[in-house]
Symmetry: C2
Subunit: 287 residues, 2 copies
């Protein structure tokens, strides 16, 4: 007969998974059980608190659907998503940052120098730069998948006034590794706070705001894909991003110094001076 006590239970649970065939699975489960148990031991978690935690997860399940995953949001506001991004960042490569909930496959392809401003209100921005490998050489044929919120802080999925695929595109670099497009400056916005995560933020005295950002997924054959965000210096929420996505190397100095030369050959003719930012993405070779 097994006498389970507070001293042997953690070893007993870990041992119960000893028959798992996958070594990595065994490692992950054993560390998960260790930390879950240590957490409850250190806090001497009560039944009432345990029930509150179970209820929190149950409600997260109930509010989740195809268009919203509250568990991703829990991971985001507890910094877990960001930590996983940071752990996957390779030396010499651009930092990873949040994917966020509004990425959608099938964005329209735009040629280098194409325009996303169209009929959007807001301050125009020229974003340009190169995709480089970890030795600094241009990567040709790299694909950028790019999306961001409008000046009102809403993505097209949230805003009936925006066209489908507004402010998003894919773009493929040429032999010089260059990309360039014109768009508008996005606004800051909140993560959804009408569910359990909102309760958590309120109990914690926290707000739900994220600083304004541009999303990118950059991929190229022979390299590790990069999911990241670029932020704008001076944003009031850079200090306290609700999902902890800000890294020093991902903050752009937006300067209103764009001139007529900059827009030569672009699809859209912006009137100087306009915001111009340069950013080179660095991809790690897939060894």
């Amino acid at each position: 007969m097994r006498d389970i006590t507070r001293d042997n239970i953690t070893a007993a649970v870990i041992a119960s998974f000893g028959g798992a065939h996958d070594e990595r699975f065994r490692l992950i489960v054993s560390r998960l059980v260790h930390h879950l148990h240590e957490f409850s031991r250190e806090t001497a978690l009560t039944h009432e608190e345990w029930r509150a935690g179970i209820d929190f997860l149950y409600r997260a399940g109930k509010i989740s659907d195809d268009g919203r995953n509250e568990f991703v949001l829990i991971s985001d506001v507890l910094g877990l998503s960001s930590l996983v991004d940071l752990l996957q960042t390779s030396a010499g490569a651009t930092d990873h940052s949040a994917l966020g909930p509004f990425h959608a496959a099938g964005s329209p392809a735009l040629p280098v120098g194409g325009d996303l401003v169209r009929n959007n209100a807001g301050e125009p921005v020229l974003i340009r730069g190169r995709v480089l490998d970890d030795a600094g050489a241009p990567v040709s044929g790299a694909t950028l998948d790019f999306w961001h919120a409008a000046a009102n802080g809403l993505y097209w999925q949230q805003d009936p006034a925006q066209d489908k695929h507004n402010l998003r595109c894919t773009m493929t670099t040429g032999v010089d590794g260059r990309y360039a497009f014109t768009t508008v400056r996005p606004g800051p916005y909140t993560v959804p706070y009408d569910g359990p995560v909102g309760d958590l933020l309120r109990a914690g005295g926290r707000h739900a705001w994220r600083p304004a950002h541009f999303h990118f997924i950059v991929a190229a054959a022979g390299h590790l894909p990069l999911t990241t965000e670029l932020f704008c210096a001076g944003d009031e929420y850079l200090e306290q991003d609700a999902v902890f996505g800000v890294r020093a190397g991902l903050v752009l100095e937006l300067k209103k110094n764009g001139n007529a030369e900059d827009v030569r050959g672009l699809e859209r003719d912006l009137e100087p001076p306009f915001y111009r930012v340069e950013f080179d993405f660095r991809l790690k070779r897939d060894a």
Copy 2:
């Protein structure tokens, strides 16, 4: 601007909850964040593994409803529920063990000595004993809430062949602190394994069986309530309870030594020899 790195992110997340009014909430969140982050750091959790974890929780949410809480089951099979029970056990009091998913309020009251065998198949058992305080004195007016599975391992909620409230009752002790009732020996059964928890058990090379057990909630004014289970010695699953509820002090030696004297004054007249077990519950005074 906040530069979030893998070295400062844990402190940043914990600090973000610094405005919480409730000190206990701050402690629990800070230890939760610490252990969640340490877990992902130690395992260098990949995006793919993170997504698998999120998907596991999402599916747990989808299969949960008013009659089934997969999050409780996750907590059970990872030993968390049992550890919380063990942490709440007071010195000098009977060990806590699992509440389980089949407790229901409103069980019919039975007098001391009442019968639950009725038309149930299975081996009859006389269970009797006392409710004591932590000094060993009888507690009069203590309420026992008692329920268990039938010989086929099913609770009445799972088995259309059983009447509502089959094999469950409440009972109040007299001045001698005694309780007694006749019932049948329950069968072992599995926790539900048709959802995410089933996938986890299969990946871990684990089964879903629990040893047979009787459930009790014992409560009395001036004492801390006790939720526990009693198991039967010799059960083949005592070594490997899927939810880690077995404690040495909760295993009953079922001996077939009940005699005619034992059933005198009971509602049901069992034919000797029958299984007879004695168990005294000890409640901690609510200081």
